[in-house]
């Protein structure tokens, strides 16, 4: 199983792996906002956490459709399905590798983009923390969409559309926890804990659903 994790990590940093593409897209989306909104520093710092979160959400969705499709194209998926290892575990490993390759770089890049949005240290820290906790949920939810659309050519946009409604709660609680850290009356912990709960819930349900979809893809 660790072999699968290591292989997928290697693939994500090699040519065509797409780990950097996600970060670049994230930076592009967030970096153009100050130009569009104008040099109103108060406004920027107020919308900052939301913009960073939306940027992260969109870039997390960007590479998801390739999660199983590359495996299917070269025939590896057949062999992954045939083994003794529980398929749920195999999918979980692939999700972890995908998050380490595509999600974690977004988390690491977020403080820099926070500076673009004139956010203070607390807001930057809170956004980074909520992204760290919330982005795995996006990967787990996305795995189900990627597994359903695995046999479709050019299923990329379809995966995003399938996955987006399920990802909205992650966005809501991620953003509200980030705001709660800077705006005094709102407590930080409740939305943050709900975000943690969402991630743990989908860490179980996502691989299960994806494994079921892959088993029945049947072709």
């Amino acid at each position: 199983m660790t072999a699968l994790l290591l292989r997928d990590l290697k693939l994500s940093v090699r040519a065509g792996g797409g780990a950097l593409i996600g970060v670049l897209f994230f930076m592009t989306v967030v970096a153009v906002i100050p130009f569009g909104v104008g040099p109103d520093l108060n406004l920027l710092s107020r919308i900052g956490p939301a913009i960073v979160w939306i940027g992260a959400l969109l870039s997390a969705l960007l590479g998801l459709d390739r999660l199983f499709q590359t495996e299917r194209e070269d025939g590896s998926l057949d062999l992954l399905l045939m083994q003794e290892h529980p398929l749920v575990l195999t999918v979980l490993m692939k999700c972890l590798a995908h998050w380490l390759g595509n999600g974690l770089p977004l988390v690491i890049a977020s403080p820099l983009l926070g500076l673009f949005m004139n956010m203070n240290e607390v807001a930057i820290g809170a956004t980074m923390l909520t992204l760290l906790v919330g982005t795995p949920a996006l990967t787990f939810i996305g795995a189900v969409g990627a597994a359903v659309a695995v046999a479709l050519p050019r299923g990329g946009l379809l995966v995003s559309i399938l996955v987006l409604p399920l990802a909205i709660p992650v966005l809501i609680f991620g953003v509200s926890a980030s705001y709660a850290a800077v705006e005094d009356p709102a407590p930080f912990m409740p939305p943050f804990l709900i975000l943690v709960a969402i991630t743990m819930f989908f860490a179980v349900l996502g691989p299960l659903g994806a494994a079921l979809a892959l088993r029945n893809a049947g072709d």
Binding site: L4, L11, D74, G75, L79, E84, G218
Partner: protein, 224 residues
């Protein structure tokens, strides 16, 4: 040559009344066979007659419409799927073009693990066995189609599986490579393995049984 240590044991791959559907059409019905240690079955028939479909059903990648595939062996725990005892070499090579041949083979070796009854050889030896020992450091994508096919075949050697399911193993191969493959398949058989292959070219296997696929069984019998 390939060295596989084998315990002599009772193993059988059983297929009972298999029928499969592709879309709306029944491709074949009522196919049964039993293969024991050292036996091989070669599927022949024209394009579209259902050879690949049958192989995918046996490998557990397609749900059969009727019937089932079972694997019987002394060492098998109850509830072991037949697919777990099989190597499947399909049309696609299941190797990553971005990774080197060595990385590919060692990943599969570790991920497959050995089924009880034998041991796989190291990636270096496997590449040597298919006659490409010197280029194991190259990215898989740099190899020619024939070399890629040979390396995909080397994948069968790095982990032990009693059953080999081969879908046109000799496509894109030169005569020399074909004879290497035949020797490897024969070695697997004499070591007590089972081979199930679909092919257009004669593989030159000793005492192989042949199953001729007619295709569109349902159409011929007026039921679909």
């Amino acid at each position: 040559m390939i060295k596989i240590l084998m315990k002599v044991s009772v193993m059988r791959l059983l297929a009972e009344n298999l029928g499969a559907r592709r879309g709306e059409d029944l491709i074949f019905t009522d196919i049964s066979f039993a293969l024991g240690a050292g036996e091989s079955l070669v599927l022949t028939g024209r394009n579209g007659s259902g050879k690949s479909t049958l192989l995918r059903v046996v490998a557990g990648l397609l749900h059969p419409e009727t019937g089932r595939v079972t694997w019987v062996s002394e060492s098998a725990e109850s509830g072991m799927r037949a697919a777990e005892a099989c190597h499947y070499l399909g049309h696609r090579n299941a190797m990553k073009a971005e990774l080197s041949v060595f990385e590919n083979l060692s990943f599969w070796k570790e991920f497959f693990g050995d089924v009880e009854g034998g041991k796989g050889i190291s990636p270096g030896e496997a590449a040597e066995t298919v006659g490409l020992g010197g280029i194991i450091h190259l990215p898989f994508g740099y190899l020619s189609a024939g070399q890629q096919r040979r390396m995909a075949f080397a994948k069968l050697l790095v982990a032990y599986r009693p059953v080999w399911i081969l879908d046109e193993p000799t496509a894109a191969l030169d005569v020399n490579a074909e004879s290497i493959f035949t020797a490897l398949i024969n070695a697997h058989l004499s070591g007590g393995g089972i081979v199930l292959a679909a092919t257009h070219q004669p593989l030159g296997l000793e005492n192989a049984r042949e199953l001729k696929m007619a295709g569109f069984a349902g159409v011929a019998e007026g039921r679909w």
